[in-house]
């Protein structure tokens, strides 16, 4: 059945149902009885966001003061009262060289966000200029059979987001290609199930860091002759291996627990093994397979940051780690920006998977 896409449906799918209530409020469609649901759906979330920002602001302020007093105290003890007074003035003036290094306030994080965007615009412009400048030369080099010159400048924050997304999708694809077929075989055959069960039970709880090290050992040797950077390969394989277990277990469970009625129908109609698998067993286990894939996607995104950080593969993980090592005045604020970006992208990926899940399966699952 084709359904028209309306604002209401889209926002409901996004889990942002209160937006359509908000629209009703402004278009005057809201009934008095809806007031209660308006309060619950719009006012309460907005209030909780404001409360969160307020607590954050107060907490950051108190941490800032603690750190500042400690700095002044230290100056007083080490260098005497004049140095302490100088430090107090320096902090009050907002000079970058002596700012306390602690949890940034919401306002600072917002500023960093703006500056990261500006940085991205600068780098993009730089890249475009570089491409323009080298276009003619590259054409000539390609015609001569030489490698074209590529931009090797620093990636912007936005570039790193896309790099991370690329890694997580590659890892997700790997998990899908391994876990779904394997899960189907395990679900179909009790023999295979007992053969693989110990394997799954033991490797499922292994930490992402250990997976990374294992993949590193293997890939490093395999690519020993290759001059190419293996960090991307290592990180996406690690992400795939870490996150595939949910899909593997769910697929096996879905396949082995097909409704007995459907199996009876297949038996009565004497469907062949192939037809039974593709027309009955697989479609009926799709909802569980997709539940598994949804978990795989969110686990993959979660472990990605840690793995990128270890693998030194460009992306959000490396960004966070570099900012932490950097220790510049706005580093902490940038880390918090990255935190929100990671959270929001994770949420959107989850919604994407839910959407795919709902469109392929016959049972409708509500957003949780």
């Amino acid at each position: 059945m084709k359904q028209s896409i309306t604002l209401g449906k889209v926002t409901k799918f996004m889990g942002l149902g209160f937006l359509s209530t908000l629209k009703d409020l402004f278009t005057g469609k809201l009934e008095k009885e809806d007031l209660k649901s308006f309060l619950r759906k719009v006012v309460v979330p907005l209030a909780s966001i404001l409360l969160f920002l307020g607590l954050w602001h107060l907490g950051a302020k108190s941490l800032y003061n603690t750190e500042a007093e400690f700095k002044i105290e230290k100056a007083l003890n080490d260098q005497g009262p004049e140095a302490a007074e100088a430090m107090r003035e320096c902090i009050a003036s907002g000079d970058i060289s002596c700012q306390p290094n602690t949890l940034p306030s919401p306002a600072k994080v917002w500023d960093s966000y703006q500056s990261l965007l500006k940085d991205h615009q600068i780098i993009s412009a730089d890249k475009a200029a570089f491409a323009e400048k080298t276009a003619a030369l590259n054409e000539k080099r390609v015609a001569e059979g030489k490698e074209p010159i590529v931009y090797t400048g620093r990636p912007s924050f936005v570039d790193q987001i896309f790099r991370s997304l690329k890694t997580v999708f590659a890892g997700f694809l790997l998990a899908l290609l391994i876990a779904v077929p394997l899960g189907i075989f395990i679900g179909l055959s009790p023999t295979l199930k007992s053969a693989f069960n110990w394997f799954i039970q033991i490797f499922k709880p292994v930490s992402p860091v250990v997976w990374y090290l294992l993949v590193f050992m293997i890939v490093k040797t395999l690519l020993i002759d290759s001059s190419e950077d293996s960090s991307f390969t290592i990180s996406f394989i690690s992400v795939g291996l870490c996150s595939m277990w949910a899909t593997l277990v769910n697929t096996a469970m879905g396949v082995s627990a097909v409704d007995k009625d459907y199996i009876n129908v297949a038996k009565v109609l004497k469907l062949g093994t192939f037809q039974k698998i593709f027309k009955v067993i697989l479609p009926s286990s799709l909802p569980l397979i997709f539940t598994g894939l949804k978990i795989t996607m969110s686990v993959g995104w979660m472990v990605l940051i840690a793995i990128e950080l270890l693998a030194q593969s460009p992306g959000l993980g490396t960004f966070v780690w570099e900012e932490f090592q950097n220790g510049a005045n706005d580093s902490n604020a940038k880390i918090i920006v990255a935190m929100f970006v990671i959270g929001i992208i994770g949420f959107l990926l989850d919604r994407l998977m839910l959407f795919v899940q709902n469109s392929v399966s016959f049972e409708k699952t509500d957003a949780i």
Binding site: D261, Y262, V268, L269, P283, S361, F362, E363
Partner: protein, 276 residues
């Protein structure tokens, strides 16, 4: 219409072998079903003998848990036989097969398929040599017969219970089985829908005349549809308790059946059996 009730108070064993063998479609001999339990064997069915003629519609009635469904699923080949045998046209059955179509209590459609695809699932299996167009035509013909000409491409999960069971009927008839087995197919429907579906079933059956065995709890349904009503004793060790011939002419209409003089005699007979 004949007004004589052929009321044979006979045991199942004497009933067995009444018909010439070339008229028999389905033959149950000394059928036995035992479920092993920790406390020893539980005998569900024992010494069950029943012959069903070609083109006969038989309904089976009995108390809940007496083993009717067990018997039906044994005929379908979905439940192994503990003793005795079941044969279709003189050949012992081995497992399930499309010569015995089943209409289950739950519609058991694949919810991700359209009604047409559900019917085609069986048709493709039974007529592998037919062209795609021919197979589509067969499936569509039967869907039309059950009144679903507007719902070929609707997903099974979007259909009502009654409509789903209509697809179930179409699916069973479309594979042209020798025997049709119906396990309380209308038990989950409201009485209005049940009546409509009984009419649909009997209309299509009148054309196809496929030997049918149907389990039901509903005395009126049993009389309206059947040539013979088979009454089963209560378990354990259930067997055929009594058989009642229904001598109404076919095709029947509900109105004619209800107004017939014999209707209440038949009804009383069945209720008397069930109350003892």
């Amino acid at each position: 219409m004949s007004t004589i009730i052929k009321d044979k108070k006979t045991t199942g064993l004497e009933e067995n072998g009444l018909f010439p063998s070339n008229e028999v479609m389905l033959d149950l001999k000394q059928l036995k079903k035992v479920y092993p339990t920790p406390k020893g064997d539980y005998v569900v069915l024992e010494d069950l003998n029943l012959q069903i003629k070609k083109e006969e519609f038989v309904t089976i009635i009995g108390h809940s848990g007496c083993g009717k469904t067990t018997m039906l699923s044994m005929i379908a080949g979905l439940n192994p036989i503990s003793g005795g045998n079941i044969s279709v046209l003189g050949r012992h059955i081995k497992g399930p097969g499309p010569d015995r179509g089943v209409i289950f209590q739950a519609p058991s459609l694949m919810p991700w398929m359209t009604s047409l695809q559900n019917v085609l699932l069986g048709v493709n299996q039974v007529f592998p040599d037919a062209t795609k167009v021919q197979r589509n035509d067969i499936a569509k013909y039967y869907l039309q017969k059950v009144g679903l000409e507007d719902a070929f491409h609707k997903k099974a999960s979007d259909l009502s219970q009654g409509m789903q069971q209509r697809v179930g009927i179409a699916r069973a008839f479309a594979i042209k089985p020798k025997v049709l087995l119906l396990d309380e197919p209308f038990g989950m429907l409201d009485s209005l829908t049940r009546g409509e579906l009984q009419d649909t079933l009997i209309d299509i059956w009148n054309k196809e005349k496929i030997t049918a065995v149907m389990i039901t709890h509903d005395v009126d349904e049993a009389i309206f549809l059947a040539d013979r009503v088979v009454m089963m004793t209560s378990g354990p060790r259930a067997k055929i308790g009594d058989v009642l011939e229904i001598d109404f002419e076919r095709p029947r209409t509900r109105k004619a059946v209800l107004e017939h003089d014999d209707y209440y005699k038949y009804r009383k007979h069945l209720i008397d059996f069930l109350e003892h």
